[in-house]
Symmetry: C2
């Protein structure tokens, strides 16, 4: 029997009525001949309520107890979903993480999945069960304690189940209807993508398009799980949503698939640093220790043995970064003339696997920004992404201009 | 190290603040030199919320899924209690039922405890843990599914842990400060009992004094667990609350310990039934099948081969009882002249282990009621209880008169 994994997020199971709507979607796939594994999140608001209790009681909590408390929301939804399916005469039962058992590392609060045995659930399918409902976000540590996978962890649970059971596809039902060429709030020309490659999705996710947990996309890429993102609140036909898939499954791909942005960036420049071996480590070591998430790094050409070093980080980490750099200077580890922070910048990126085989993307991007009079402050590139830092006030304009320039409103 | 079991009900853990207050009580016992096993209920209102979801989704639910859903409330409290104790620098951790594992029968919704292994928790005590917090009300079936023990099941969990671990005492913290000689709302002379025998507590509990789950008292009696009921909301000294204990631990017992009542009783009489062997079975078989909870049964002296048969049952089961009896008559299984129901009666009982060795209790009870002009409609007796049915309008008067007659306002 072919198998599907269907995952429903918190807003999709926020009430008994919504659980019923989700169960109807499951019922349609059962009618289509599938066995289904359903992964559920906690009802919307529930995890926050539980986290609130924990923070009220113990701001510096024991992560093992935190996990035991916050995992309970998913257990409730799993049981309610199984009951709803049974009411529709669909043979179903619920599993909590420890019952599978979904084995994880002991890293409470952000555990990694290590093993998902399939025999238990598969033997139930063999006996006629049609739907296994599994509480997402949770597992069991080698010590027998409950673990959780971190925020958004139910996406990862879903992909891991799809990989372990060899599912035909993993459908992630959420409150958006797919992945867009850019944020529709910024450009009304934004177009829903029918397909996107894993690599592109990873770049978009880490750039702030918060549709899927990054880890779930990595896992899907590694195990070639066909991942579909679609809306719980619309009628979906077979081509609904966005399929996140291997590059070779994308027949006609455009050079650029999407334009992403990140608003709260800051640019920092160390002026006149000695250009010597080990200088990068001397700078970025202390920053990492101080918990600064450095993103882009640019080193200028050296002149007279000295250079400028520029990096970006989230705006709210600027003070921390400055403190770390001044301390390193006092310790004599780094010498620089000045440290300049610009908190009014934003990052705009174009992403697309087509870039690998197409020259001229960067040039087209820079021309397009130049035509709008937008000055580029920092540039970084990867194989499938070009990012620039610009003044924040031009961010929306830049996104719209790039969306137009690469004709993203048109289907591939 | 001596061990205590402390159980906190839903109102005692209804908020982080109340959990903190409960944890302080635990901390005092730890300071007194005890290892402590804490059994917690769900936060007040939580179980009702979850049961509400289940009933909304599936009125005729799969009890296995019901149990998976409703047991989650206790898991939350257990984690929060452990965190609170840790904040007070008391080494503590939580256990869910399946982690102990507390093994039960497969009777979902009203499972019976079968085994509580002690090695896991005891090895933690040996390593320096001072408090094991255990989620009440739940266990795990032989099939590995979560079970619940029925409403009030956390009391039973507490007593079972006290028995398994050989606890010095099992303290049940609740919203009343002990067991009274009668309901203080009916008699302002009602006095809190310092001690009460298990047998008496069982009679009082089943008569409607809903302080402890009946099953927990049975279990405590069988395993000689010293059980104390006391208030979460008052400062308790060493003699606080009521100790439910073996008969021999009660030094000076009075003949009568308490006066109990039950308001919603009905009296039904089958007039002129054939007085033949098997007639009782022919009547009470169909009633049991119809789900009628028959309580008292009285058969009058036969005359001319016919007799009257009187029984009592809850008021709201009268229609069902009548239907069952008329059907039995139509099938020719029972022949009676008439069926008379009196829905305006109440049951009043005096309870006391001292009755076993004292004659004259019944006579004193009847005289006392007679003095108030109260007519007795039905009488039944057991070794330690005498119950009468009377007109409901006299119920309060009867309770007060009996409380006076047996001088229950005075300590033993």
């Amino acid at each position: 029997m072919p198998l599907l994994v269907m995952k429903f997020g918190g807003t999709s199971v926020a009430s008994p009525d919504r659980i019923r709507r989700a169960a109807k979607r499951v019922g349609r796939e059962v009618a289509n001949g599938y066995d289904v594994i359903v992964i559920v999140s906690a009802m919307a608001g529930e995890t926050n309520r539980l986290v609130g209790y924990v923070n009220e009681i113990a701001p510096f909590y024991d992560a093992r107890e935190y996990d035991a408390v916050v995992s309970s929301g998913e257990n409730v939804t799993a049981g309610l979903m199984a009951l709803t399916l049974q009411e529709m005469d669909i043979p179903a039962r619920s599993w909590q993480g420890w019952q599978v058992p979904l084995r994880t590392s002991s890293a409470h609060g952000s555990a990694r999945i290590e093993e998902i045995p399939t025999d238990n659930i598969n033997s139930r399918f063999a006996q006629g069960m049609k739907v296994a409902v599994v509480a997402g976000f949770q597992g069991i540590s080698p010590e027998g304690r409950i673990t959780t996978l971190g925020r958004g962890g139910s996406d990862t649970t879903a992909v891991a189940f799809a990989a372990a059971f060899g599912a035909e596809r993993c459908d992630i039902y959420t409150d958006v209807d797919g992945v867009y060429t850019t944020d529709p709030r910024i450009s009304d020309k934004a177009r829903k993508l029918d397909r996107i490659a894993f690599e592109e999705m990873l770049e978009l996710a880490s750039l702030g398009a918060k549709v899927l947990q990054t880890r779930s996309v990595e896992l899907a890429m590694r195990y070639h799980v066909r991942l579909r993102v679609l809306s719980s609140f619309e009628d979906n036909n077979e081509s609904a949503g966005t399929l996140v898939c291997d590059e070779e499954d994308i027949v006609e791909s455009k050079v650029v698939s999407g334009v992403a942005y990140s608003r709260d960036e800051a640019k920092m420049t160390l002026i006149s640093v000695a250009d010597r071996p080990g200088i990068a480590a001397a700078i970025f070591g202390p920053l990492a220790e101080a918990g600064v998430n450095v993103d882009m790094i640019v080193q200028n050409i050296a002149e007279d043995g000295r250079t400028d070093m520029t990096f970006s980080c989230p705006t709210d980490q600027v003070a921390r970064a400055e403190k770390a750099m001044r301390a390193a200077k006092e310790r004599g580890e780094v010498n620089f003339h000045d440290l300049v922070a610009d908190k009014d910048v934003a990052k705009v990126s174009v992403v697309g696997i087509g870039m690998r085989s197409h020259a001229g993307v960067a040039a087209k991007m820079f021309q397009s920004l130049s035509r709008e009079g937008i000055n580029i402050k920092v540039i970084t590139t990867s194989e499938i992404k070009i990012s620039v830092l610009i003044d924040r006030k031009y961010m929306e304009l830049a996104v719209q201009a790039l969306h137009d320039a690469f004709e993203l409103e048109k289907a591939g």
